[in-house]
Symmetry: C2
DNA sequence: TCAACCCTACCAAGTGTTAGGTAGGATCAT
DNA sequence: ATGATCCTACCTAACACTTGGTAGGGTTGA
């Protein structure tokens, strides 16, 4: 793994745990094994590092979603498994979705970071919409709204579960969404 | 309004906009009209100020919920109106629910603040559960889970709507929750 | 040789917090 | 009634520390 990737990986972990504002160069450098000033050789500013982190994050998410669908080929099954993406963050050190944390901080974010955060949301909603349309669980005129509702609800579940450090709570919330009819049962 | 209250009000606004970590004494003092050091006459530390802010927040929320129910006396109607609590924060300067923001920051929060944040969630869930039981929309053995699901979903909707600075999006998400069956229609 | 990479050594600005002081009002013994 | 004493509420000035960021120099592999 290149130093560049190591920085991005460490920055992603930090941003998921402490947010963009809570992420700092000294801790980042310590984790990568270089000095703080050396990060500037790879990224010209915190804003651009943050944007790179967010971009990489939604690209990876898009790839994960694609892979999950490829495993089954069934839109309903892919829809049911969608929450897994968020579950994994909780498993890996009780971390929050980067998009959720940065949404909370949104007003204080530099412009390039804001842009990538929006894209993250768009990627998720577009993907859910595609699955909803393919599965035909709601009419095509409702798929956009439903896709956003699922994304928001799952993000909310992750937020709540994380503050209790309780993955079982996340599972229970998703189960509840299913039995209520928000997600396919 | 006493200086004490003015500090609490300013701190609440700041924490809702920038989080606990983003809230700082200089800005707080400027808004209140005193010097930063003078805040220490009213609150011994940032941790205890944060705890006082969070406590006041869930107390006010509890009172708002009570008042909303008193207006109608009908648990179903009160349940339908629950999202209004979160909507108001968006109306007043596109601010996030304090509980949501602090949930995201949870791991970095001082202990006394954590405690109040948990209480905020408990207050919401307990209230929703009471309404669900009174309304009989789900069986009593499911009311706890459903209450948590509603709380998490509405918080998620607020998070998403805020990052787009779009109250109409919040309304659309709530509408979607209703048509999906998570909230009573 | 030369560029990529990382270093040491800073800096200005900001962080929560403390020390010590002051103006003015209440309380109290004389 | 009055001076001594205390309290509330706030101040200025500084503390130790952290932040993102910069300047310039050394090392290393091609």
């Amino acid at each position: 793994m290149s130093t560049n990737d190591a920085i991005l990986a460490a920055a992603t972990r930090s941003a998921q745990a402490h947010g963009y504002g809570g992420m700092n160069y000294r801790d980042l450098a310590k984790e990568v094994g270089i000095k703080a000033a050396s990060i500037y050789h790879h990224f010209p500013s915190k804003a651009e590092l943050g944007a790179a982190v967010a971009k990489r994050y939604w690209e990876n998410t898009a790839a994960d979603l694609e892979a999950m669908f490829a495993e089954t080929g069934d839109p309903i099954k892919a829809l049911r498994r969608y929450p897994e993406i968020f579950r994994r963050s909780l498993e890996r050190g009780n971390r929050l979705c980067l998009g959720s944390f940065m949404s909370a901080e949104y007003d204080d974010l530099p412009e390039p970071v804001k842009k990538e955060v929006q894209t993250f949301a768009n990627v998720n909603v577009a993907w859910l919409r595609k699955l909803l349309n393919a599965a035909g669980v709601v009419g095509p005129e409702q798929s956009e709204e439903r896709a956003r509702a699922i994304f928001a609800a799952v993000a909310g579940a992750q937020l709540m579960a994380r503050s209790r450090a309780d993955i079982a709570l996340f599972d229970a919330l998703i189960k509840s969404y299913r039995s209520a009819g928000l997600l396919p049962a």
